[in-house]
């Protein structure tokens, strides 16, 4: 048995685990990160699955990585390199298309071909969303409020939040209420008239959830699109040079620089307990490692029902955790291409350097959801495509390209049961390619390699329970002080000395790093480590 006594062991080398490790190491603590796979990053990973082609296998764009984490951990010095997305392209099956550009004037021009009024409203819309984004920012950058607490410190921070509300004009209050309660489509209907604009905008409300664009509560997620920041510039989304794993590697390099030890291919069998106290971990190879504190970078179900064991949990906690919804709804198809794909509706490449949405109409999206509700993957799914090789020469050989397709809906819970996914994997991949073919007629001829990830694969390979990319649905009832469950949103858990630093904790999923950083800060503040 290894004798080393660590201040903290971090289970899982995903980006949040690494951020947490880096913060603790920077504060002088002796920390060890244990990652099951041979690569770091969890779902924020770059993998060369076909020689010469680097896939951002899961997470494929970066926007919400907190700027203060970038500064605190000096990530640019350790390899963080972001390339902004230049556009959002919507091909349509009837030969038309709409591209929204980072240049607002250009976007107005394109949108005005569909509706001059919408082109005009775009500026007002992004202004309104940016104002609300400013209100949400402090919430995602600090621990979740505890509304039931009478602790003076809690009250002060609640009051501070309250001030944001009371300062708001009636218009802004109204907008917030609508954003919190409406469906993405209903909300956008209030601003715009052209379906070609609303349809691709509405999908940001459903990504990673088992909801449709007409489901109430999806409007809120639209906001995330307006909170994306790179280098402090709002509304920007970017590619990590070298693939999304570049972000994880930069965080890992920073953590190592500050003294953290990181081991790959070191899967955890279970968390060692002494009564209701965590004392270390047992590796899959049987080794036992002891630490004063254990931090989980895994999702809540995997952490508590998998690594701790339900029998060791207080029953009320276990019950509410069992109600925490995952319901993975998406898959990925990664392609190595012999050349740049050509969209029949708009030849050329200027519009391929951003993201591309296969979301031709709201009915199309809703129909895709309908199929998923009854346990089959969408026959014609929503696909969000990026071709990072158009701006990053390191991910594919010259002239060749990698194409990442995020696909929704692919329900984890197939009608036949989730374990039937492996036999449906290739059919799912074929559906995606057939859909693409309607826009890129020769796509099948230029595919060199295809990598299909179903929700089942996301669970089995990447440890994402039920294939949920956010460690649990990012719906309002599972956010802030209710993430993962009410009363346990401050990274502590009912198991003493066990902490949750993953996307299953506040402020949730996406490549933010905030749960990891806020967990480390909470631990240091509580002097537990």
């Amino acid at each position: 048995m290894a004798r080393t006594q660590w201040d903290a062991i971090i289970v899982g080398g995903g980006h949040n685990g690494l951020v947490c490790a880096a913060y603790l190491a920077k504060a002088g603590r002796k920390v060890l990160v244990l990652e099951k796979r041979h690569l770091l990053g969890g779902a924020a990973v770059s993998e060369e699955l076909y020689p010469g082609f680097t896939y951002s296998a899961c997470s494929y764009v970066v926007s919400l990585l907190r700027p203060w984490i970038i500064r605190d951990l000096e990530l640019p010095r350790f390899g963080l390199d972001m390339i902004p997305l230049e556009s959002s392209f919507l091909p349509l099956p009837d030969g038309r298309s709409m591209c929204r550009w980072s240049d607002a004037a250009l976007t107005r021009e394109e949108v005005s071909r569909f509706s001059r009024k919408d082109a005009e409203s775009l500026g007002d819309f992004s202004m309104a969303m940016s104002k609300i984004g400013r209100f949400v920012k402090p919430i995602i950058d600090s621990p979740a409020p505890e509304p039931a607490s009478w602790n003076p410190k809690e009250l002060v921070s609640l009051l501070r939040l309250g001030r944001h509300f009371s300062d708001a004009t009636v218009d802004q209050m109204e907008l917030r209420m609508k954003l919190l309660t409406m469906s993405a489509v209903d909300f956008l209907d209030e601003w715009f008239e052209s379906e070609e604009l609303k349809s691709p905008m509405s999908v940001s409300g459903i990504i990673g959830t088992f909801l449709g664009v007409r489901s109430p509560g999806t409007a809120y997620v639209l906001l995330h699109h307006y909170m994306g920041e790179i280098d402090g510039a709002f509304r920007s989304w970017g590619f990590s040079r070298g693939g999304t794993g570049g972000v994880s590697n930069a965080i890992a390099n920073s953590a190592r620089h500050f003294g953290a030890e990181i081991r790959t291919e070191s899967g955890i069998e279970r968390i060692l307990l002494d009564g209701d106290k965590a004392t270390g971990v047992v590796l899959e190879n049987g080794d036992e490692l002891r630490a004063n504190q254990v931090i989980s970078g895994c999702d809540p179900r995997r952490t508590f029902f998998g690594l701790v064991g339900r029998e060791h949990l207080p029953e009320d906690f276990a019950t509410s955790l069992s109600r925490y919804r995952f319901r993975g709804s998406s898959g990925k198809v990664n392609l190595a291409l012999d050349r740049l794909p050509e969209f029949s509706c708009r030849p050329g490449d200027a519009h391929l350097r951003g993201d591309i949405a296969i979301a031709p109409s709201i009915d199309y999206l809703e129909r895709a959801y309908d199929e998923a509700k009854y346990g089959t993957f969408s026959r014609r799914p929503y696909i969000n495509i990026v071709i990072p090789s158009t701006v990053d020469s390191t991910v594919a050989p010259p002239g060749k390209h990698v194409m990442s397709c995020f696909v929704q809906y692919a329900p984890y819970d197939l009608a036949e049961g989730p374990s039937h996914w492996p036999e449906k994997r290739e059919a799912f991949g074929d559906t995606v390619i057939d859909t693409l073919e309607e826009y890129i007629p020769d796509i099948k001829k230029i595919i060199l390699h295809r990598h299909v990830l179903t929700p089942w694969d996301l669970e089995q390979e990447y440890g994402l329970t039920e294939g949920n990319i956010f460690h649990g649905e990012l719906t309002l009832d599972q956010m802030a002080f209710q993430r993962p469950t009410s009363g346990w949103a401050r990274y502590r858990t009912p198991i003493r000395n066990l902490w949750l630093a993953s996307s299953g904790a506040h402020p949730g999923g996406g490549l933010m790093g905030a749960p990891g950083a806020l967990c480390a800060k909470a631990m240091l503040e509580a002097r537990t480590v």
């Binding site: 004037a105 250009l106 107005r108 001059r116 009024k117 082109a119 005009e120 202004m127």
Partner: protein, 399 residues
């Protein structure tokens, strides 16, 4: 990428500087030569021709057209006669300015509105229940600004002698005599230079014909094409505010402080309060009573003090020839009371001028303020006095 206006084939040929900027989605020439001086002097001594096509333009037609405009804008159009042009601003319901532009009454039930920002959605939203149709003609109608003391003489051969009777801020339908035939359009005696001048409106298809006719007619009298740099100097001399420079539209303001009321912009003269309801009326009535907390003012920088600052470094005073739009603080007895938004050297008046916004108590003509002057990366102060506007106001403008 911006789009070319219908005049682009001509202006591109003349624009040897290749200095363009984007204006409302169009290519707009900043200056034709490397420096804009020649264009500026031509404007004040002869005349210049500028492509004003990028302005947003809307046709408002119908029995309730006058009701819509009187409801949306701070002026009442009920008694306006056909042929009248009005400079006007419009506000949100809190009385904060959204945009400014012109309204031309072309016929009893037909108006044309110009604006700096797109305004179709705003007009339509407020037209509910009214018998009115609003058409965005921004891309169907081309516009030229022919400005300067000889502009009338240059335009007369193209549109006829009736031009001599066109009064200041009036419009008339014309037939442009081009290449042996006539094409219809509108001429308004308006402009953004504070000089005698006209704006010429025509269908896109006729744009080049009219351009050639005016250039041909004006050439013997010294007509030059003019870009936005020279205009920017002229409009400060004329005391004209520029949206997004002197004020931020309430639509794009992040915070309340960035918004302005018409009274703060010294648009008092255009606000007509005592009439039927219009957007922002309650707030404006209240502000009229309490008085605005700040005012837009004209400023004249004390040249001797400005020169002395440079002399202190062994330098002669230096100003860029373009209007500078970088805001600088204004102080009164050491306390900041406002900011200057546009600063320019006026070659006609031989004065260093500025437009700024200051606390109301510091806004009276003659008030002595201090403006920040940065010389050799050091900050200094020079006296700037609140001055009557317009700075440049030749008789010929209205004659």
């Amino acid at each position: 990428m911006p789009r070319p206006t219908p005049f682009h084939p001509r202006t591109a040929e003349l624009c040897t500087s290749l200095a363009y900027k984007e204006w409302a989605g169009c290519y707009a020439v900043c200056r034709y030569d490397t420096y804009h001086d020649r264009e500026y002097y031509a404007l004040r001594h002869q005349a210049t021709l500028m492509d004003a096509t990028p302005l947003y333009k809307y046709e408002v037609r119908g029995a309730n057209a006058v009701d819509l405009l009187s409801r949306v804008m701070v002026r009442n159009f009920a008694k306006h006669k056909v042929g009248r042009v009005s400079y006007v601003c419009w506000c949100d319901r809190d009385g904060k300015v959204l945009d400014d532009g012109t309204v031309t009454k072309l016929d009893e039930e037909h108006f044309r509105v110009t604006s700096a920002d797109p305004s179709l959605a705003w007009l339509e939203r407020n037209a509910r229940g009214l018998d009115v149709t609003i058409t965005d003609v921004s891309r169907e109608i081309a516009a030229l600004a022919l400005q300067g003391p000889l502009s009338r003489d240059m335009l007369r051969p193209v549109v006829g002698a009736a031009l001599d009777d066109l009064a200041f801020f009036r419009a008339m339908p014309v037939e442009y005599a081009v290449a042996g035939r006539k094409v219809p359009g509108i001429v308004t005696r308006t402009g953004y230079t504070g000089d005698l001048g006209y704006e010429l409106w025509m269908a896109n298809d006729d744009a080049l014909l009219v351009y050639d006719a005016v250039m041909e007619s004006g050439a013997p009298l010294g007509l030059l094409p003019m870009g936005l740099d020279a205009l920017d100097v002229a409009r400060v001399e004329a005391g004209f505010v520029l949206a997004s420079v002197e004020y931020t539209s309430a639509r794009s303001a992040f915070i309340e402080k960035q918004k302005s009321t018409p009274y703060e912009l010294a648009f008092d003269w255009m606000v007509q309060l005592n009439r039927g309801p219009f957007i922002g009326q309650d707030a404006l009535v209240a502000e009229k009573q309490s008085g605005p907390s700040r005012r837009l003012v004209g400023l004249e920088v004390d040249w001797n003090e400005f020169e002395a600052i440079y002399e202190g470094f062994g330098l002669v005073p230096h100003l860029t020839t373009e209007t500078c739009r970088l805001g600088v603080p204004l102080y009164q007895s050491g306390r900041q009371v406002g900011y200057a938004t546009s600063r320019t050297w006026s070659p006609m008046l031989k004065k260093y001028l500025a437009l700024g916004t200051v606390e109301a108590s510091a806004a009276n003509v003659g008030t002595k303020l201090e403006i920040e002057v940065t010389c050799e990366y050091e900050r200094h102060l020079a006296t700037a006095r609140v001055s009557p506007m317009p700075f440049f106001d030749p008789e010929r403008k209205k004659a």
